[in-house]
Structures are given as C-alpha cells and as structure tokens.
Amino acid sequence: MKKVILGDHAVSYGALLSRVQTIAAYPITPQTLIVERLSEMTANGELDAIFTKVESEHSAMASTVGSSAAGARAFTATSAQGLALMHEMLHWAAGARLPIVMANVNRAMAPGWTIWTDQNDSLSARDVGWMQVYCQNNQEVLDSIILGYKVSEQVDLPTMVILDAFVLSHTAEGVDIPDIKKVDEFLPPYKPEIKMDINDPRSFGALTSPDVYMEFRYKMQQAMDKAKKVIVEEGKKFGEMFGREYGLIEEYKTEDADTILIASATVASTARAVIDELREKGEKVGLVRIRVFRPFPTEEIIKVLEGRKKVVVIDRNISFGKTGIFFDEVKGAFYNSKGNKPPMFGYIAGLGGRDVTPKVIREIVEDALNKDKPESEIIWKGVKL
C-alpha cells in the first residue's frame, strides 16, 4: 500500500511492521513525531508493545538495554543532544551485544541552539560499536528499520538508522508500506539464545578483567566484519521480496566516470540531479553514496575509486582539528591499498541545516574539476566570513 507519509512516520511504520515489543522514549524535536505515532499505535492496539515514557534519553537507552537483554525486540528514537545524553548507554547496548534498533534524526549539536540537520550528533557516536545506516528517502527509512533488526539479530550488534532533520523527518512523500505478513516472513520473531530469565539466572555485565576484556572487543570487531556480508545478503533478499535492494554503498553513473563524487544521506539524493546535469555537459562524473558508515565499506570504496582521476567528498559534518569525517575515512581506506590513488577533495557543506542545493553541489564538483589537486585538506563551501 502506497501512502504519503513523513520521514518520522516512516520510522514508526518500520517499527510497527517489525513488531517491536518495547519502546522507551523521551521526546526531542525533530524526532518526537516518531514516538508520538508509536504511542498512538500502542494505545489503539495496532502494535502489541510496552510503551514507556522515561525522564531522559539516558534512561530511554537504559530501559531499552534492559528489555532487549530480557529477550524483547526493543526500539527507541532520539536526536542530537538526546543521543549525546545516552552516549554511555550506547556503549552498554553494543558491549552487551544487544540487537537494538534506534532511529536517530540527524540534528546539529548545540550550542548555538539549533534544530536543523547535520551529522555531527551520530558521528560523535562513531566508535561505540553500533552499526550506522544513513538514509536518503522515506522509503529507505522504513525499509532500514526492518533490515536493521534482521541484520542486528544475526550479528548481535545494535543498529542506528539515521535520517536528516526536516529534509526527511518532516517531509512527506509516497512510501510503499509492505504487508505485515510479508514482513513476518522476512523477519521472524526474535529468539535470543541467551537472555535474562529468572528461571535460568546468569550474570550480565560482570567485572571483566584484563585477561578477557580484549577478547570481547575482538569479537565485536568480528561481528562488524560479519555484518558487512549479512547487510549485503539481507539487502538482496529484501530486494527479492519487496523489490527494493540495499547494500553498503550505492553507485550512480560510475561506470565510465573519471571523477567520483562521494556523499551520504539526502545530499547524495540531490547530487543525482547534479550528476545528470554535468553528464549532459559532457563531464564524466559519477556518484557513490555511502549508505552504511559502520561497518565501513573499505573494500567496496577502494574498488570503486581505484584508477579514477579525482574523488570529491562532501561532508555535512566536521571533526574539529581534522577534516570532514567521511573524507577522512575514505582517504584512510586507501593508504594500504595497491594501485593508483586518485587526488581527493574534501568539502564541508550544509552544517546546521544550511541548504545543500543542486547549485551548491554543482559548484563543489566544478571547483574540483578545475583543479589538479586540492589546495588544502579541508575546503569550506559557502562560509560567509
């Protein structure tokens, strides 16, 4: 059934179709609509779940960790300062190897006080052991929640499904809402091997001596490696069942491209129009969208970029004192690779919700096309100083 819905409500439908059993949440703009709709769905009996209002995001994740450890399919959603407040608990969720799925609406961090989009909130949670999926439209948002549980429950790591504030969260578009029976076929009920059970007492989160801690971390990394395969396999299966396939990266007109533009989330969506425009002018440009940021698609990126003449990365984020974060990671992926390393241009654009229009993207690509190599490691687009 096709329905015109907001990105936030695409998340709610994704959770409904995944038959989540617990939702613990605290409201924050622009996320609130997600859990508001889920509370309605729970209240009217559409969704058989326990909805818990908590007093902070830290508690939201703590509660979610608890219910997931007890064997429930657990969901929550947050944004920006809320994600920052639950940071400690993000480590708990991943370290305890719990297949929680959470939606994070990408909102810039305060101060200055803001509600508009950029990626610094989720990227500040880069190293907590969560998988991160950046979505480009509302359909992908809905599908990625279902896929998130499917993958997480196989690798025992949590998934963060990420959507841009307002550009997706408050934008309505046509979304195909799959039949729940078909989703049931794709995503069977969660049945963990180990869970908190009063009839089978175990110790969770016990003191972990230097003797064994490192092995737990090694296993988390192994799970991330495994996730790369599982994400691709399940993305294919999803495609066979629902007609929409998802992978780690997405290529657009890359085949004969000399220059590759790399972007993520909705910037990558808008960039398609720019690629078409530049192609009409005879420029051999293509686009790679990084969909999954953790686990990072190192091999896929190297494969698609090797031998190209130029690589242009647009970051809607910044690691202060370094560069854009996607740029840094793409560059890092290359260091030990053999073969030709193309010059890479790293642009910062759209922080704090500044609009990334086709014109902005076109000027970025044209700037890189006009230069042999970047003049600096970080190029700011549109700063008015």
């Binding site: 015109v4 550009v167 934008t171 309505a172 578009e173 046509g174 808008t270 398609r272 229009t357």
Partner: protein, 187 residues
C-alpha cells in the same frame, strides 16, 4: 517536475493543504514531496509550504526557491510580502480573493492569475469561524483544476487522509472551489 509554493499564515492550514495535495497527486500516480518551511511557525505570521510533483522519482531534496506556481491562502499577504519572489515567468498565481483575475494587472504581465473566493466558500460550509475561516481545503479544489495535478476523486481521498475532521464539508468546499475558480488564461 513542477514545484509549488503555498503562502499562508501560521494556523491557516498551509501545511495540511500541502500534505493533502501531495496525497491527491500520489493517488493520481505522481511522485510527490510535501514539506513545511523548516523550523518554527508562529500563529498569524507568513508561512510557506512546498510541493514537488513529478512523473519521475524525485531526487532533489533542497528547498524550493524558484517555484513554477504559487498559491496565496490569505489575500492580506499580497501587500505584506512579495508573493512572486522567485516565481518562474508564466507561472500561475492562485489567490484566495473575491476579486477577478483581470484586476491583478501588477501580475498578469509576467504570470497567469486564477482567483477563487475560498473565504466565502469556507464560511458557507462552516469551516472555521467567520473571523478565521479555514480555507485550506477550498483552495485545493482550485489548485487541482488549474494545475491538473490530480483528479477530484484523488483530492477527496487526500482530504480524508489529512483533514479527517469535517471531511465531508471540506470535500464539498473543495468541489465548489473547483467549479468557481476563475482564470485569466487557460493553462
């Protein structure tokens, strides 16, 4: 692809109109986007809502700066803001007013004007109050007639979905506006 900008005032239902229009166009088989001005909305202040409608999937996700057509929910906005800002030449301006399209000589050189007395239609259908009539559904009838982005039945569904309260009266208002809208030139 066409891009539409709806000018209204906070509380008039511009966003609901944009959503119902998107839903109607989607039901007519189009790809759609509907979004508000991102941020905070104040009651009574000028607000905008946006639509993209296309036969192809829509990939552009920036705001709309150069709309193909504009819709004006509140005639007092005509003197308060420049409603033609960024509007493409030859585009439609659909205005809620009792005046005829020909009286808008300041617009008719560069643009096409359509007018409909959505305020009277809303009052007659008891939508909102006499002092603050809710004109957002009436204007939708005029929009689909002029821009031909959806059929009447599609609009009926769109209104039921996004304006479920008093849906019947809202649909009736939309149909009346569909019949009563006046054009300066056919599209």
């Amino acid at each position: 692809m066409i891009e539409i900008l709806i000018h209204g005032r906070g509380g008039q239902g511009s966003v609901k109109a944009s959503l119902a229009l998107a839903s109607a166009a989607s039901k007519a088989g189009k790809y759609v986007q509907s979004f508000p001005e991102f941020g905070v909305e104040r009651r009574g202040a000028p607000v905008k809502a946006f639509n993209r409608i296309s036969d192809e999937p829509i990939v552009v996700r920036s705001k709309i700066y150069n709309p193909d057509h504009v819709v004006v929910l509140d005639p007092t906005l005509l003197h308060a803001i420049d409603i033609t800002e960024g509007l493409k030449e030859g585009g439609w301006i659909i205005i809620n007013t009792e005046k005829s399209p020909d009286s808008f000589t300041e617009y008719t050189k560069k643009f096409k004007v359509a007018t409909v007395n959505a305020t009277r239609i809303a009052v007659e259908n008891h939508l909102g109050s006499k002092a603050a009539p809710i004109v957002n559904t009436a204007i939708l009838g005029a929009i689909i007639r002029v821009l031909k982005v959806a059929g009447k039945k599609d609009l009926e569904e769109g209104i039921k979905e996004f304006v479920p309260v008093k849906a019947e009266a809202n649909i009736k208002a939309a149909y009346e506006a569909f019949d009563q809208v006046k054009f300066s030139k056919e599209a």
